[in-house]
Symmetry: C2
Subunit: 215 residues, 2 copies
């Protein structure tokens, strides 16, 4: 039986990774991270997705009081209507977040004898987030293999070369319940529509001529 640890955030990308894993015959277990993000709502959506799929999941609490990110600090503003596809790192970046998430995932995978770790990182993110780039992910896999003495564990990033529109197409094909995903970076009751994450999502729905069921 093929098993995978899926990093689940509650957004479209990680939800699509989860359904990809299901489609490919993996039995998944999900790790959900509570890293002090102000948009705590995504944790509820991640949990709901895990429950919908009747998979084992864990919520891991991570304390990053030093992170100077608008996702975790009230004193910083999440940028609104920022120019998309920029190469500069936005203030939503949480330093080393994927490094930390993946470290936990490798520890978990080794302890539970699971040979695959799946992350929903993709090319649209890596214009801004260095820990979403393919060269980082490959290098990190190899380092972790050394550090846990297990060459079998694979780090899979099935969406890495896709943009949000491609991912949305894939999500639709795989039957991802898009209503049960949450993308917005803001702690507002409904999606703000103005942050990068809302806007990439809206653009993808727009490109496919579809209405977002989450609105």
């Amino acid at each position: 039986m093929k098993k995978a640890v899926v990093l689940l955030s509650g957004g479209i990308d990680s939800a699509t990774s989860l359904y990809y894993a299901k489609d490919k015959g993996y039995t998944s277990e999900a790790l959900i991270f509570d890293y002090g993000q102000r948009h705590k709502k995504e944790i509820l959506f991640a949990e709901r997705l895990a429950k919908l799929n009747s998979i084992k999941y864990l919520i891991i609490k991570i304390d990053l009081p030093w992170a100077r990110s608008s996702l975790t600090r009230k004193s910083l503003k999440v940028p609104k209507k920022r120019k998309l596809y920029q190469k500069s790192i936005p203030n939503t970046y949480v330093s080393g977040r994927n490094i930390i998430f993946l470290s936990y995932a490798f520890s978990y995978a080794q302890s539970r004898r699971i040979d695959n770790v799946i992350i929903g990182a993709h090319m649209q993110d890596y214009s801004g987030y260095p820990d979403c780039r393919n060269n980082f992910l490959r290098s990190f896999q190899n380092s972790c293999r050394m550090g846990i003495s297990n060459n079998k564990i694979k780090l899979l990033a099935p969406l890495i070369n896709m943009n949000k529109t491609d991912i949305l197409k894939m999500a639709l094909k795989l039957g991802v319940p898009l209503k049960s995903t949450w993308s917005c970076y803001c702690p507002s009751p409904g999606p703000c529509g103005n942050c990068d994450s809302c806007r990439y999502r809206a653009k993808a729905f727009n490109n496919l001529g579809l209405k977002d069921p989450a609105f």
Copy 2:
């Protein structure tokens, strides 16, 4: 001003790393990890060392409920009088522990603009613990540099090629208050004298013809 993040556990190795950093002119900040180790006492010793040196420190709580280690699980016994210098991984190994610690350290270093991370890993450990080996540490440094887009951060392991006796010599030279270090793996009120950690320590003191002030 040279700055360093020092991983501080309260044992001789990390204490010596801290005093090494001081000797080399680094201003240090310490990260102390509470990962559910049953020998919680080491956290108090780490704190005491940080306070003695008037350095900034943080205790980071890490939850690893999946770890099958005798350091974290009551149901597993810390091996007593195990043959030393074995190549097999002992049950005190906490899967991916240094991977996780170092991930936090790189995130912290980047956020606080610190260019050095110092870890007390050394060759005697790496017979058993894969995440204490030099090839892992080098590889991990390079992965993290990619993941946080900063090629300046160095991972230093000043003790990596030393055994415990060499480290003890260095500790004495640097004035490490050995009475204020804790090595024992057991949650006993005093050092048990029988676990690997106590025995490597005792052997080092013995090799130098010295009495351990912690007893």
